[in-house]
Amino acid sequence: MMSEHFKIVIIGSGPGGLSAAARAAEHGISHLLLEAAPHVANTIHHFQRGKPVMAEPAVLPLRSSMSFAAGIREHILETWREELTRYQVNYRVGATVTNITGQSGSFQITLASGESLNAEFVVLAIGVQGNIRKLAVPGEDLPMVQYHLDDPDEFRNETIVVVGGGDAGVENALALAGQNRVILVNRQEEFSNCKEANYDQLMAAVTQGKIETRVSTLTERIDALAQDTFNLAYVAQTPEGHEQINCHRVIARLGAKPPRQLVESFGVCFPNSDSTSVPQLSEQYESNVPGLYIVGALAGYPLIKQAMNQGYEVIEYILGNPVEPADEAFLREKFADVPDIHSVSEGIKLLRANQPLLAPLTTLQLREFMLDSTICVLPRGEVIFNRNDYSNSFFSILEGRVAIQTEGQNGKEAVYGVKAGNFFGEMGLLSGRRRSGTAIASSDCVLVETPRRSMLKLLYSASGVQRKLDEVSLKRVVRSCIDTSLPERELDYLVQGAQPKRYAVGDVLFNEGDKADGLYMIRRGSVTVSRMVDGKEVVLAYISAGNYVGEMALVSNQPRSATVRAASPTEVVLLEAVRVADVLGRNTSMRRKVDSRYLEQVRSDEYAPSSESSELINFLMGQGVGEATDVLLIDYARCIRCNNCETSCANAHDGTSRLDREAGSTYAQIHVPTSCRHCEHPHCMKDCPPDAIHRSVNGEVFISDNCIGCGNCQTNCPYGVIQMAVKTEYKKRSIWQVMLGTGKLSGKTGEVETGSLPKKAVKCDMCKDIIGGPVCVRACPTGAAFRMSPEDFMEYVK
C-alpha cells in the first residue's frame, strides 16, 4: 500500500500549528495538518463559553497568515475557521500521531488508526496539554460520553456519572450537583488526590445527599440504551460486585498524558529531567532531529501570539526564505542605548562574548532571554539595588565594574568588586529573600537585567548555565553565610566537591545523635531546629536562607545535638566536615565567627520555648507559614469577629476582598485566615503565561494589569488565596453615605453582575500602593490582626 506523501506535516492544530499550516497553504506547498481531537484549536475550543482571550505580549507584532486579536473565544474560532477555508488548508481531525521515524526528507508518521504518512519535514506544535486520557473501555466514544465540561448550567435534571476523583472530576461533580443527580466514581479508596477545599466541599455535598459516590470502582463498559429515560448504561466493578447505573451522560476527567514521553520517543532530547525543561532548538526552531521542527508551548513559548509568529516563521525557514524574526525591531530598540552596537546580531554576539554564563545558549534562547531582559546603561555611582530590597532579577555585566557591599556578621561592611563577564544578584534570585548586599556601579557600566522567571526558565532548559552559575554562586553563598573576608583560595578549597542538595517540606537534613557530616549552608528555603525534650519534639529555632546549620557538632566534636528539618522546599550546600575543620584551623577570623555563633546557640537553647509554643510553631509550619515572607495572622482571643478587615480590604481594592477571615485554621487562639502569605518562592508565579505576577522591592507579590485571566495561579496556589474576579467600576462610599448608612456595603465577591466581562486574577498585594500599609491590619479595632514573617514569630513565641 502506498502511503500518502507531503512536503510538510504539521502536528497539532493550536495557534502555532494553524498558523504554520495557513502559511504553507498560502505558499501552495503540499502539506497536512493533523489534530488528535475532534476540532481544530481544541484547547481554545474548550475554553468556557464567551471567555475573553487576550493577546499578550502587547509589544510583539503579530506575523501570521491567520489573524488574531484579543476577543471572545467564539469570535476567534469563527475567524480561524473562515481562514482555514479561505487558504484551503489541508487538515484532518481525530488523527492521533503515535510514532515518527526516519529523517529529514523522509519521515514516516504513524497514526493511531494504523495509517502511515510520508513527509519531508515535520513541524511539532502539540503544546503541553497532552492527550486527554479516555476511559479505555468499550463505549468510551459514545456520543454522551464526554471528557470535558464547558458549561455545567447546560445540563438540568439529568443523571450524570462523573468519573475521576481528582480536582477536575470533583469540581465538575460539585458544579453539576445543584440541578442534576450526580454519581462520582473514584478508582481509589479515598478522594486524596484533590485539593483540601474541594475535598471539604465534596464531603459536605455527600453528607447533604447532593452527590453519591462510588469508591474503589473501575469502569467496565458503557452501553447505549434504546429507552426514553436513559441513553446510557454505565457498568462498573465495585467492591460489592458489578453495578449498572442507567444515566443520561458520563463525564470522565482522567487527566492528560504529558507529551514529553511521546516527543522523546521521536528522538528529541530534553536537556534535563525537570518538568519545566524544554527541548533545545536551533535558531530556526529545528530540534536535534534534523527536519523535525518544534514551535509553540512545547518549545517554551506559551502565548498564542508567539506561537502564531513561530508557525509562520518555521515554514519560511523550511523553505529557506530569510525572514527577520518578529521580535527584531523590539530587540533593536533594546540594544539602541549600548555604545558601539548597531544591530541585534552584534548585540547578541556581545552578550555571548562578554557573559560566559550565557555561552552555552543557542541564538534562539539568547533572543528569548533578551526579550524579557532590559539593558541598563548606568553612570558611575548609580545604585543598582539596595540591601534588604526584595528584588529578584539577575544582572549580567557586559561592560564596567560593580561593587557589592554586604554587611559582615560583626556589623562591618565588606565590599567586593565584580567585573565585566561576571554576574550578580543570583542570591536573591535563588533564595527568594531580601538582597544580602547593595550593588553600586563603580564605573560607567552596561548591565543586562533579567527578571526572575526568564532566568529560572533558562536554568531549567540549559544545563550548562546551571553548572556555570553554581561554580560561582556556591563560593558566594559560603562567603556571605560564614565569613565575608575569607580568601578566594580557601573558598575554592571549601566548595570542592560540594553539591547543592534539595529537600522537600518535612525532610530531615540530619537527626539528633547523627555523626556530624559537615556544615549546611541554606541557600534557599528555611529549616527548623528541634530536639526531643521529655519524649516530645520541641522546636528550638527557625533558620532561613543565607544562614548555616550544623556548626554545633563540628565545633564540639559531638554527635548532632538537634534535628534539622526543612520548613519549606529547601536547597542547601553541604561543606564536608574535614574541609571545614581545615579551614577553621587556618583562619582565626572564621573560627571566631563560628565560635561566637556556637555560644549564641548554646545560650538560646537555655531559653527553649515551652512545649505549648512548640506546638504552635508546628501548627503554623503545618499551615505553610514556613515559606511565607509576610503572613496575616489573627489573634482570636481579641478578634471581635466584626469582619472590618474584610470590609476595608474590599473598600481599598475595588470592592473585592482579598482575604477570607472565617476560612482557615485556628490553634491556641491563633487563626490563619485565607490570605496571601507572599511566599519566598511564590507558587502562583510558576506558570503565568504573560508573566504578570511580580514581587516588588518591598516584598509584595502582586498581579499586574497584563493578566490574561487563565487561572493558572489560582490552581497553583496551595493556600487558595487567589480568586478570579471581574474588574468593575467601584465607587467608594462618600462620608455622607457612611453617616447615613446608605450606599452599597462591599464585602465578598459575587455581588456584582459579572456577565461576560473578562475575569482577572485578584490577590492581596499587601496594599503596596496605599500609604500607611495593609488596611486589614489598620482596620482592626482591637489589634487582633497582625502581619508577620516566620522569623518574627519565632521571636514572639519564645
Binding site: 505580549p57 459536605a204 453528607t207 530598540e333 539602541a336 542605548d337 532590559t374 539593558i375 539596595n386 530590597d389 509554643s613 495572622l633 489573634d635 482570636y636 482571643a637 481579641r638 471581635i640 469577629r641 472590618n644 470590609t647 476595608s648 473598600n651 481599598a652 485554621s665 485556628t666 487562639q669 491563633i670 487563626h671 504578570a692 516588588s696 522591592v697 518591598n698 502582586f702 499586574s704 494589569d705 467608594k732 462610599r733 462620608i735 457612611v738 453617616m739 496594599c767 503596596k768 500602593d769 496605599i770 500609604i771 500607611g772 500599609g773 488596611v775 491590619v777 489598620r778 482596620a779 482592626c780 479595632p781 482591637t782 489589634g783 490582626a785 497582625f786 514569630f793 514572639y796 513565641v797
Partner: protein, 317 residues
C-alpha cells in the same frame, strides 16, 4: 495567649491614652477644687464651666467620629501608580527604575494598627467624660434638657463599658466554644443526628417517637432576641428528651429495644451538646453585637439633646 503580639486595647502604646486622659481629669479636678467663682457656686455658666463644656463637646465629636473612621479605613488615595506598572518597553523600564529608586529611599511608614489606636483613645476619652461633664454640671441636676443630656451621656458610656467588657472577654470564649467548627457545620451535624434518631426510633412505641419528634421539631437555636442573648430555650425539648430517655429505658427492655434505646440516648446526648454549643455561639455573638444597637442610637440621641442644651443656654444670656 497574647504573647504573639503587641498590647491590648487598654494597654495600647503603654497606656498612652490612659495617661493622657488621667492628666486631663486631674487638671479638671484641681481646677474645680481651686477655682471658686465669684458667686461661690460652680456650674456650667462660670468660665471654668464653659471651658469644661467646650472641651467635653469636642471630645464627644471626636468620639462620634470613630464610627466614621471605622468604616473609612482605606488609606490615602495617593497611589504610587508607576511602580506597579510592568516595565515592558525600555522607556518605561527606565522610568520605573527611577521611580523605584526614589520610593525605596522613603522608608515605609507602617502606622500599624490605626483603628486600634482610635478605639483605645475612644475608650479612655469616653470614660473621662464622666468626670469632665460632672464637673461641668457643678452637680446641679433637675428635670430639664440639660440633665437629660447628662443622663443620656451616662447611658451611652455605660453601654460602652459593657461593650468594652465583652470585647475583651468574649473573643476567647468564642474560639474555645467553636474550635474549628462553624455554626453552619454544627447545624448540619444536628440535622444529621435528628435524621438518625428519627429513623432509629421508627420501630419503637409512639411514646418514644413523639418524644424524639418533639425534640426534632421544637428545639430552637437562635429564636427571639431574648433567647439569643440568654443562650437557652425554656424547657428545651432536647434536654427533656434526654432526661425522659433515662426513665423510658427501664420501660422498654424487650428484644432489641435496649440497644435501640441506648443508641437513641447517645444520639440525643450528642445533639444536646451540639445544641448547647450552637446556642453559646449565637449568644456570644449576639452579646458582642447587641450593645452597639444601644450605644450608637443613644449616641445620636445624646447629640440631639446636646444640641438642645447648647442652643438653650444662649437664652440664659
Amino acid at each position: 495567649m497574647n504573647m504573639m503580639q503587641g498590647a491590648t486595647l487598654l494597654k495600647y502604646k503603654n497606656y498612652r491614652y490612659l495617661k493622657a486622659t488621667s492628666l486631663l481629669m486631674l487638671l479638671a479636678i484641681t481646677a474645680y477644687a481651686l477655682i471658686r467663682p465669684a458667686g461661690g457656686e460652680s456650674y456650667g455658666g462660670t468660665w471654668l464651666g464653659y471651658l469644661l463644656g467646650i472641651i467635653s463637646t469636642l471630645i464627644m465629636f471626636f468620639l462620634m467620629w470613630y464610627g466614621i473612621t471605622k468604616r473609612r479605613i482605606t488609606g490615602s488615595p495617593e497611589r504610587r501608580k508607576l511602580r506597579t506598572r510592568v516595565a515592558r518597553s525600555t522607556e518605561m523600564a527606565d522610568q520605573a527604575r527611577l521611580e523605584r529608586r526614589k520610593t525605596r529611599k522613603k522608608t515605609r511608614v507602617l502606622s500599624g494598627a490605626m483603628l486600634q489606636e482610635w478605639l483605645s483613645a475612644h475608650v479612655y476619652l469616653g470614660a473621662s467624660l464622666i468626670v469632665l461633664v460632672s464637673l461641668h454640671t457643678g452637680f446641679h441636676f433637675g428635670l430639664n434638657v440639660h440633665t437629660l443630656a447628662y443622663v443620656l451621656m451616662l447611658l451611652v458610656i455605660s453601654s460602652g463599658f459593657y461593650g468594652l467588657n465583652v470585647y475583651l472577654n468574649y473573643p476567647r470564649l468564642i474560639t474555645l466554644n467553636m474550635t474549628e467548627d462553624t455554626l453552619d457545620n454544627l447545624l448540619l451535624k444536628i440535622a444529621e443526628l435528628d435524621e438518625l434518631a428519627g429513623t432509629r426510633a421508627l420501630g419503637l412505641p409512639d411514646e418514644v417517637n413523639t418524644l424524639i419528634m418533639k425534640a426534632r421539631r421544637e428545639t430552637r437555636i437562635g429564636g427571639t432576641l431574648f433567647q439569643q442573648l440568654s443562650g437557652d430555650q425554656k424547657d428545651c425539648p432536647t434536654r427533656i428528651a434526654v432526661q425522659q430517655m433515662l426513665h423510658l429505658g427501664a420501660k422498654y427492655n424487650q428484644d432489641d429495644q435496649p440497644k435501640i434505646m441506648r443508641d437513641l440516648y447517645s444520639a440525643l446526648l450528642r445533639k444536646e451538646k451540639l445544641v448547647l454549643r450552637a446556642r453559646t455561639e449565637i449568644m456570644l455573638k449576639a452579646r458582642l453585637e447587641c450593645w452597639l444597637y444601644l450605644h450608637a442610637p443613644l449616641g445620636i440621641a445624646l447629640l440631639a439633646a446636646l444640641a438642645a442644651h447648647i442652643v438653650s443656654i444662649f437664652f440664659y444670656w
